[in-house]
């Protein structure tokens, strides 16, 4: 079997929760050797719901199981001198160290970048944090929602007449994790040609704020401040309920240049009327149009409409439920979900590779490690520790 793209890249993973683990999951799934350092009680994500069969168990947290595929787990107590000593030993041999503690933590452990660079001048240290390693909000606290608020995405997201909204779950943290993985490889690319390591500071707030379209630019170009948009019922691209779910219509330029195509596609002769023929007429008669469209769409079948639309190259979209996502013909054809067998949690399907590389296989088929599963293996292989050493460290509560 061909090697994976990142084979041979050694990653020391001090991350927890979501943003950091998603970064190191991307690295591990594409072939890097990732050693995940867990505190003796384990990554707090091990207690994050939902759980397999709702059983609160450190090996059954579904987010944890997903975020830690293809990694090796080592327990290490960084509150002990021996623990720090061991970490420093491991850092000497790593290409990349990733951490997402709050910015005070690594310096307080004597593990800030200058200290690590002294051990290993080629080390790439990636630090992910809520607001970055500098600036007046550096030590501010956040959840994903707070990042949406301070990242500028929340103000424009949601219904016109309601409170601003965020996406479900942990999008800001996934964005930051992805960005951190990219940045890690950029720094590694440089390291491999020059031998020089460096520190990379990744901010979750900036991950949100760097992926907005026409928000601050609308202000710098015209002085305008966008808000949550009113939902005109006659809007042809508005999300509509159909008989079996929701669809996202998009007749594209046809609505502007040839209204008849739209009338024909919707099988709605009542729309063949000057009241609706032009964009300005439709705006004027939006309410009536909206009522007709609402009624019309409710009589349609989602997938039937979706496929008919694409025959005409109208770029309709489907709003798929979780069940539909997992069963969609596109996902099935592309093997978008893969089955993993975990010794404690069992066997089920996970979201698979986020993209396909033609020559270097994805390596994400290894389930997440149980807590400390690889402690012995890593310490004896990487550091040459004997059984007696390991017994002693275990007795001292270091591992």
């Amino acid at each position: 079997m061909a090697p994976s793209a990142l084979n041979g890249v050694k990653v020391l993973d001090l991350t927890h929760h979501i943003a950091g683990p998603y970064c190191t999951k991307l690295l591990a799934d594409f072939g890097a050797q990732v050693i995940k350092i867990e505190r003796p009680g384990g990554d707090p994500a091990r207690s994050m719901p939902p759980f397999c069969q709702d059983e609160r168990h450190p090996e059954k947290s579904l987010p944890f199981l997903y975020l830690n595929t293809a990694k090796r787990s080592v327990t290490l107590n960084l509150k002990s001198d021996r623990g720090i000593h061991i970490l420093r030993e491991l850092a000497k041999d790593a290409d990349i160290l990733v951490e997402n503690f709050s910015p005070r933590v690594m310096p307080s452990l004597g593990l800030d970048f200058p200290a690590l660079r002294e051990l290993n001048p080629a080390l790439v240290m990636v630090s992910i944090s809520n607001f970055g390693q500098t600036g007046s909000y550096r030590d501010y606290r956040a959840t994903d929602m707070v990042e949406y608020a301070l990242g500028g995405l929340m103000y424009i997201f949601g219904s016109y007449d309601r409170e601003p909204l965020k996406h479900a779950f942990n999008q800001a943290q996934f964005k930051a994790g992805t960005n951190a993985a990219s940045a890690a490889l950029m720094a590694l690319y440089h390291q491999r040609s020059t031998g020089q390591g460096q520190q990379v500071d990744v901010s979750i707030q900036e991950s949100v704020a760097s992926a907005l379209r026409d928000v601050t630019s609308n202000f710098t170009y015209t002085g305008a401040v966008r808000r949550r948009q009113p939902n005109h019922s006659g809007d042809l691209t508005r999300l509509r309920a159909v008989s079996d779910g929701y669809i996202l219509p998009n007749p594209g330029i046809a609505a502007r240049v040839n209204w008849n195509t739209v009338v024909e596609f919707l099988e709605a002769p009542e729309l063949d009327d000057d009241k609706f023929r032009t964009p300005s007429a439709r705006l004027e008669n939006a309410e009536e149009l909206g009522e007709i469209l609402d009624r019309l769409f409710l009589s349609k079948n989602k997938m039937d409409m979706f496929y008919r639309a694409h025959q005409k190259r109208f770029i309709y979209g489907v709003i798929d439920s979780l069940e539909e996502v997992m069963a969609s013909p596109q996902n099935l054809a592309r093997e978008g979900f893969v089955e993993l067998d975990h010794p404690v949690a069992g066997t089920f399907r996970y979201p698979g590779a986020p993209f396909q590389l033609s020559e270097t296989p994805w390596d994400g088929l290894h389930p997440a490690p149980t807590l400390g599963q690889h402690t012995r293996e890593v310490f004896s292989q990487c550091l040459g520790y004997t059984e007696a050493d390991l017994e002693e460290l275990s007795g001292m509560g270091v591992i």
Partner: protein, 457 residues
């Protein structure tokens, strides 16, 4: 110090966001990105969101969305339906490291620009095709918008207010998710090529990249057969956890909000203290996390009454001082002038081509800072055809006579063939329609005061 990706050359046949935004990230870090455009088929981002809503003159060089996605690139125009145009593109590929595009597979196949074709020109080429649903499979040739892939990924279905329909964000959100994963994919392929000399084809489905970021819901369904209800800003584990109204002010107007998250008893006590509602601390409905979860609607109602007496920024600072996670819900202007982002130099001043008549303007930078090899100094996206000569004459070695000939033949050009600018309704009209919260007439002065030459942090 050289930027980390210096020496890498990328040819970009991109449009809108999914590929252009990704290539901007690589250009920022030193890659030479040659952005291909067509005068015959002008990208819509060139003609929308125009500076000062002005559709006169060369308005196609004043579109905000184009500038946001194409910083630090070289821009050339090529008509690929003309054999000479296609041949120039092949020449460029033969001296490049990466070729990227985000059209439907049908387009790339028609032009015979598939990976197998390009490998014949450059054996170690890395090629990226980014599509809505993937390069293969029954939906491969279906065009897609950001909202469509947000819907197909499962993300839209699980997002929304309690008892409301699915919701999507007001931006092409999953285009960015696709772009962020594309940057990672290109870097993984470059690392592999650096070690082995081998190139490859990268097939990015924007839908699949988004699906990769909602495992909580998908695995809950896969394992437990459950689809949890939409819960707005609530959190499955924390209460209170929501977005609450705040006091408006004369300049900013109403529609002011704060996001507050409480994950422990300690934070709950601090919240009560900061809001000056110590009676809540003794209220039996709110004594424990479980009780607060059970009575969350009542709790949200009470908190909303209390926050309504505060402006959001002072309340955020007071709560953060007490270690309660809280954030003012920043609007565009507040985000641009946010003191923390200013201290970090996040918005970066970029000068525009003199012919545009536009002043230097700040644009969002990157989510990362490199200690040894920082990003290159920001250079504005190219005006149309700006680097035809740089690329075709200086880089590929063609003569001035060739360029003149191609210009006469319409193979290259310096202006769109059939430009139509989108004039948006007046700002007053947009406010009336409810599309804008407000507008400020002195925005130029505000921007130049904050970011003008000499003021850049």
């Amino acid at each position: 110090m050289a930027a980390p990706l210096e020496g890498i050359r990328i040819v970009e046949m991109g449009q809108l966001i999914a590929i252009p935004s990704a290539m901007k990230m690589l250009a920022d870090m030193g890659a030479q990105v040659i952005r291909l455009e067509s005068c015959q088929r002008l990208e819509s981002y060139r003609t929308d969101s125009l500076y000062q809503n002005d559709v006169e003159g060369e308005f196609w060089n004043r579109g905000a969305n184009f500038y946001e996605q194409n910083r630090n690139k070289l821009g050339i125009t090529l008509d690929l339906s003309h054999p000479a145009g296609l041949s120039l593109l092949r020449e460029l590929v033969s001296i490049s490291d990466v070729f990227t595009e985000n059209f439907t597979p049908r387009v790339i196949k028609n032009f015979q620009l598939e990976y197998e074709d390009l490998r014949g020109l450059k054996p170690d080429i890395i090629m990226v095709s980014s599509t809505g649903y993937g390069f293969t499979g029954p939906w491969a040739n279906f065009g897609a918008t950001g909202p469509a892939t947000e819907g197909a990924s499962g993300l839209a279905y699980i997002t929304g207010y309690r008892d409301g329909p699915p919701m999507m964000s007001e931006i092409p959100y999953t285009d960015y998710t696709g772009a962020e994963h594309t940057v990672f994919a290109v870097m993984a392929a470059l690392i592999h090529r650096q070690q082995t000399g081998q190139g490859q084809f990268i097939d990015v489905s924007q839908t699949e990249t988004a699906t990769a970021t909602v495992p909580e819901a998908l695995l809950d369904f896969a394992v437990n057969g459950r689809t949890a209800p939409r819960i707005g800003n609530e959190d499955p584990q924390m209460a209170p956890h929501g977005c609450y109204p705040c006091l408006g002010d004369d300049r900013l107007g109403d529609d002011r909000w704060i996001a507050i998250a409480v994950s422990s008893d300690q934070e709950w006590t601090s919240l009560c203290q900061v809001l000056n509602r110590s009676e809540w601390m003794r209220d039996t409905r709110f004594l424990s996390a479980e009780e607060r979860m059970r009575h969350r609607s009542e709790l949200d109602r009470l908190i909303a009454q209390a926050t309504a007496a505060w402006q959001n920024h002072p309340l955020m600072h007071a709560l953060q001082e007490a270690s309660v996670p809280a954030g003012a819900v920043l609007d565009a202007q507040e985000l641009l002038f946010d003191p923390h982002l200013r201290q970090r130099g996040f918005y970066e001043l970029v000068a525009h081509h003199p012919s545009t008549g536009m002043p230097a303007l700040p644009y969002a930078g990157r989510p990362w800072k490199f200690s040894a090899t920082p990003a290159v100094p920001g250079k504005a996206a190219p005006i149309i055809g700006e680097h035809n000569r740089t690329v075709l004459a200086e880089l590929l070695g063609h003569s001035e006579a060739d360029l003149a000939h191609w210009e006469a033949e319409g193979v290259i050009g310096y202006a769109p063939a059939n430009p139509t600018g989108t004039r948006r309704p007046s700002l007053d009209e947009q406010v009336r329609q409810g599309r804008l919260q407000r507008y400020e007439t002195d925005f130029r002065e505000q921007v130049s005061r904050a970011f003008g030459e000499g003021n850049v942090s």
